[in-house]
């Protein structure tokens, strides 16, 4: 599905990774590991096209990614560590908007997804009144709503409680099983079938 070939990235004159190559096929989960500053987030942002100070090639379904941005974005679901949830809007209003950018969903489905993610009863309260974990869960509801073949998740576990962690791990597992692919950065120990790990910042 996604192939990364000979990726080089420099930040502030420091080489983050050299000749990084890997592939991510349907049904696979790849956990990106590495210490702080090893370039995990940078790698994810490069793949998503949010950062273009790199050398190397990216392929999406076998063809160069740069030539089919729209198709790639239609199949991409990215949750950065800034989770794109507006604080003055309610979870429902946030998801109404973001689903229009991906796969339109009616209010019933959105409420259903919010219930599934553990936010039943909070659909209409402004997001600033939610706890940090609940706030993060709003973004996780997008995983249920927006479809997308490739999930790119940057530190999605940071503020979640154990139940939230289990829920997300479950979502990731199910997505892989149904033919999706997941690229995830976390320090959390994942227990998933066929999990692979990419460790950055290894001494050569």
């Amino acid at each position: 599905m996604l192939e990364v070939r000979a990726l080089n990235c420099e930040r502030n004159d420091r080489l983050l990774f050299r000749d990084l190559s890997f592939t991510l096929e349907a049904g696979q989960v790849l956990q990106v590991k590495g210490g702080n500053g090893s370039g995990k987030t940078t790698l994810l942002r490069i793949i998503c096209g949010l950062n273009d100070s790199y050398r190397g090639e990216l392929f999406w379904h076998g063809a160069p990614l740069g030539e089919q941005r729209d198709a790639f974005y239609a199949g991409l679901l990215y949750i950065g560590h800034r989770v794109a949830v507006n604080r003055v809007l309610s979870p429902l209003e946030n998801l109404r908007w973001s689903s229009r950018l991906h796969h339109p969903a009616d209010d019933g489905r959105i409420r259903g997804a919010l219930g599934q993610i553990g936010l039943a009863g909070y659909e209409d309260s402004p997001c600033y009144s939610l706890s940090a974990g609940q706030y993060q869960r709003v973004s996780l509801a997008r995983l249920l709503l927006h479809g997308g073949d490739l999930w790119v998740l940057d530190e999605p576990f940071t503020t979640l409680d154990t139940r939230g962690v289990a829920l997300l791990e479950n979502l990731v597992g199910r997505h892989a099983e149904s033919g999706g692919a997941v690229l995830i950065t976390t320090h959390h120990k994942l227990t998933l079938p066929g999990l692979r790990a990419l460790t950055l910042g290894v001494a050569r």
């Binding site: 983050l16 289990a166 079938p193």
Partner: protein, 97 residues
């Protein structure tokens, strides 16, 4: 060729027909402008090269070390992952709602 000169004396030249201040201030500004924008880059160049030499003398090649050696990476398969690990958690999460 000096026939073409428009002034009969140095004093006349400096007086500029009564517009000495205007004419000479423009030419003075122009001269300062030219000299400044040529001299300052040249001075900066000398400073840059001097700093570069000092840096080289202080620690020849030290920048090279440490810059690239943590740019490695490895892909590994995690054997420890249980096959149905996530399914069980699914039930837990659902019952916890």
């Amino acid at each position: 060729m000096f026939d073409g000169i428009q002034f009969n004396s140095l004093g006349e030249f400096l007086a500029m027909g009564g517009y000495a201040f205007n004419v000479w201030s423009v030419y003075a500004l122009f001269a300062i402008f030219l000299v400044a924008n040529l001299a300052l880059p040249l001075r900066k160049r000398r400073r840059i090269l001097r700093e570069q030499r000092r840096r080289l003398a202080a620690g020849a090649g030290r920048e090279e070390d440490g810059a690239a050696d943590r740019a490695g990476w490895e892909v590994s398969r995690q054997p420890g992952a249980r096959a149905a690990g996530w399914e069980k958690r699914n039930d837990e999460a659902a019952s916890a709602q």
